[in-house]
Assembly symmetry: C2
Homo-oligomer: 238 residues x 2
Amino acid sequence: MKKKYLDICQSITEQIRSGRIKPETYLPSENEMVKEYQASRETIRKALNLLAQNGYIQKIRGKGSMVLNTSKFDFPVSGLVSFKELAGKMSEPPQTILNGLSLGEAGGFIKKELQLEEGDLVWDVLRTRKMGGERIILDRDFLAEKHVPHLTGDICRDSIYQYLEKELNLNISFAKKEIIVEEPTDEDRSLLDLDGFQNVVVIRSHVYLNDASLFQFTESRHRPDKFRFTDFARRALH
Amino acid sequence: MKKKYLDICQSITEQIRSGRIKPETYLPSENEMVKEYQASRETIRKALNLLAQNGYIQKIRGKGSMVLNTSKFDFPVSGLVSFKELAGKMSEPPQTILNGLSLGEAGGFIKKELQLEEGDLVWDVLRTRKMGGERIILDRDFLAEKHVPHLTGDICRDSIYQYLEKELNLNISFAKKEIIVEEPTDEDRSLLDLDGFQNVVVIRSHVYLNDASLFQFTESRHRPDKFRFTDFARRALH
DNA sequence: CAGTGGTCTAGACCACCTC
DNA sequence: AGGTGGTCTAGACCACTGA
């Protein structure tokens, strides 16, 4: 199934990212794009709305679609991105250390978080992320065994998300996240280079598949000086 | 200008929030809604897409639109919400203290952040937010005088956003934000009840109007134990 | 198979901006 | 007045689900 509006969106995204279309200038009008892309106006508008949602353009009535400046806006923890995808956009390559991988019956806490039944099994994955020689992030993932029957150390050291989407064809769809600041646990102190920091930033996520079933609960614990979260937000319509 | 898809969206939102439509159940099909709301299917779909973006429903092909559980998901720092709007959803009423309000020529730092010209004026607003008797948040707002010619202490103590949107009819459209953790400044220590915390959480925002012009730069500094950010994120299409 | 949501179209009317 | 984006429509075909 090829989606025309996605093609158009990617085409324009590419032109903006490469600098062929400059910030503060206007895109061709929707009617011009209708001819250029051989698509109906609604299809063009679908593509443009995607760009607007992601902060690439601002549509201004009576004038046109202005390209926004997206530089300095390059660390998309926002959205739903795995560490490997994120790392690909960083200057220096990070490193993943697998500290633990086990499959077992869900305990009380995690059984509740993943809404599991009595006797359901869960994977417990513990990984450290190293950047610039220092252990900066501690990730603990819980994955429901009924959705992910098989998991290996190699997959965890590479990218779990890649495996789930490419191999298992799971459709990761949305997540609810919360960011808070906590005191370091003993585990944080032993597995991270905390350098005397009194706090860690904790991101807790519940991740859902296309059919709205919950399959993953993650806790990502960051050294505060290396933590940065950026977001593009549109004001809700009223 | 009445927008049918917004009416439909609000109608369904209201039914979900009030509990008349329960989580884990399906909405009527799009074709049924076409009759119910006397609208075309594309208009219905526009409304449903808004609901999906905001985490109210999950659309599942071949099955329907499932209502998601939105409880425990109640602190929308995400999106673009002013403190007053946020406070309205909290149990206990918070309090705003105005620590400073001045209009002056833009200095080097803020001139750059707000992309101002030589001689442009900016408002500098400093406010403390008190919750449960403790001073928890320190907000510093810079607003370009060319967009906001007039500002008073009463407006700052109430809600700047309300004034901008209701009185000045400014259309606040989008913001770029960043969240990081810093050491407290002397100002933080004197104006907040830091209780010995070694860090503050800082949210920096650049806020833009409908015509893509930058009009506000804000720094919001939070005591870490009272900070919480929640987010609903959909995975980017590929 | 019928029903669901996903994509696409061609055309209409409106509100806004600019000249 | 002419061009821009914003809303809405009626209809078509497709892909997926479940009985």
